[in-house]
């Protein structure tokens, strides 16, 4: 295949180059659309001092929560955390730092990071703790705060289908933060459920163009459900 073939043959290869103290941008919302196996590979590698940019931090024993077990995470940049006990323990013990960031601001910071926008103004968080110490500017009579972009040494992403060139399609709301994460990594690693040949995906229906993707691997997924809510049939 050509130089555009992004497929790698093992999870070890997928995360090659990951080192202590790196920043990782992760897709996923709750446990939906998270790169389960890439997270497990990070755990296996035993790197420490990580900064993780992700909306949430998984649960005990699943998702990003597994990285807490060996205290691999130094800092979380998230909008909502604390769905697991280890997280709470390490936070209260001062072993873990959290930078709470509004969900929409977090999504936009990732997009900005990938799009070469170093900073943008938003009304979100003005007049709150989130706005403290940030530049304020008035536009049309309203106050906004300046938020800076985020980028990562790695981005880890879960998609549904990909072609070998790394063009990605997400399934339902498993899309969430994944498209922005994919743009914001120096090295973007994607795991998917199915890999097809270039040309099999409709060019106008690709969620993430392959230009953002460095490595691609096919995995199998547990897809654990956090809140299983059902109605009578």
């Amino acid at each position: 295949m050509s130089g555009f073939d992004k497929v790698v043959s093992s999870y070890e290869e997928a995360m090659e180059g990951l080192q202590d103290d790196m920043t990782i941008i992760a897709g996923g919302f709750g446990l939906c659309g998270i790169p389960e196996n890439l997270i497990n590979e990070i755990k296996r590698r035993g790197v420490h001092g990580l900064t993780i940019v992700s909306n949430n931090c998984g649960v005990d024993g699943f998702g990003l929560g597994v990285l807490l077990e060996d205290k691999q995470v130094k800092k979380m940049i998230s909008s909502y955390v604390g769905e697991n006990k280890l997280f709470e323990q390490q936070l209260l013990a001062g072993e873990l730092e959290v930078e709470l960031t509004p969900q929409g601001t977090l999504a936009e910071k990732m997009r900005a990071g990938g799009a070469g926008i170093p900073a943008f103004y938003t009304a979100t968080g003005y007049g709150t703790l989130v706005g403290e110490g940030k530049e304020v500017k008035e536009f049309n009579g309203r106050n906004y705060i300046l938020e800076e972009a985020v980028t990562g040494d790695f981005a880890i992403v879960k998609a549904w289908k990909a072609d070998r060139y790394g063009n990605l399609v997400y399934r339902h709301t498993a899309q969430n933060f994944n498209p922005m994460a994919a743009t914001a990594g120096k090295i973007t690693v994607v795991e998917v459920e199915e890999i097809v040949e270039p040309g099999e995906l409709d060019p106008t229906q690709i969620h993430t163009p392959g230009i953002y993707v460095d490595r691609l691997i096919k995995g199998t997924f547990e897809k654990r459900i956090e809140q299983r809510t059902v109605r009578e049939a």
Binding site: C32, G82, P102, E108, H172, M180, K223
Partner: protein
């Protein structure tokens, strides 16, 4: 009698209009979807990236890849769309959602809201709430008028860390419907059987009481 959770939701639902795109927070706000008036259609926005949220799935329909902002499994309705979280908050921040309903710990006469953090307790984070209150022109806060200890939640100034500053102008509590303008609360309606005196007693911020305060009907 103070309103039940269902009555709170019913009262909020009267603010709906046909064709409204609505974001409903967790808890009582979620119940509002059950009281959409007949002949009216609203479409529910879920901030993780879904417009046109349907009911919970049947056991057979459950799909781990289709959840709402409360991480619950859901379905979609015909005409729905699914997109990234950046697009979802572009919608919210850009003011395209017609109505946002959310709960709160406190509101004050300046339209400030505190809803995500109680110092000393574990802080889980604001999720999308700060974006929602900053992005919407039309927000309804639903909450009890006072705590179980009788402490008012409608204050001269919020005591807890804010979710948003100067962004709230409609509050539906279990005792009253109150609007916020010009640095004051304005009593507009009272719950059936609830006296104006009781509302005044449980409202710590300055409350303007008109001569006649209509009783809500259900």
């Amino acid at each position: 009698m103070s309103l039940t959770r269902e009555q709170l939701a019913m009262r909020v639902a009267r603010e709906l209009e046909d064709g409204f795109y609505v974001n409903l927070g967790i808890g009582i706000p979620t119940l509002v979807a059950n009281y959409v008036p007949k002949g009216m259609d609203v479409m529910l926005q879920s901030e993780n990236g879904l417009l046109g949220m349907g009911p919970f799935p049947t056991e057979a329909e459950v799909d781990a890849d289709l959840i709402n902002a409360g991480k619950q499994t859901v379905t979609t309705i015909p005409g729905s769309s699914i997109f990234s979280s950046a697009e979802s908050f572009a919608m919210i921040r850009g003011g395209h959602v017609d109505l946002t309903v959310l709960g709160a710990f406190e509101v004050d006469v300046m339209g400030n809201i505190a809803s995500y953090m109680i110092p000393g307790k574990l802080i889980k984070g604001m999720g999308g709430a700060m974006d929602l209150v900053a992005g919407a022109d039309n927000i309804i806060v639903t909450m009890t008028h006072a705590s179980k200890n009788g402490d008012s939640k409608l204050l001269p100034q919020c005591t807890l860390p804010l979710t948003g500053a100067g962004c709230i102008n409609k509050v539906v509590t279990d005792l009253a419907y109150v609007e916020i303008a010009d640095g004051k609360f304005w009593l507009k309606e009272r719950a059936p059987g609830v006296s104006v005196d009781e509302i005044v007693k449980l409202t710590a911020g300055e409350l303007v009481v008109p001569e006649v305060v209509p009783e809500m009907e259900f």
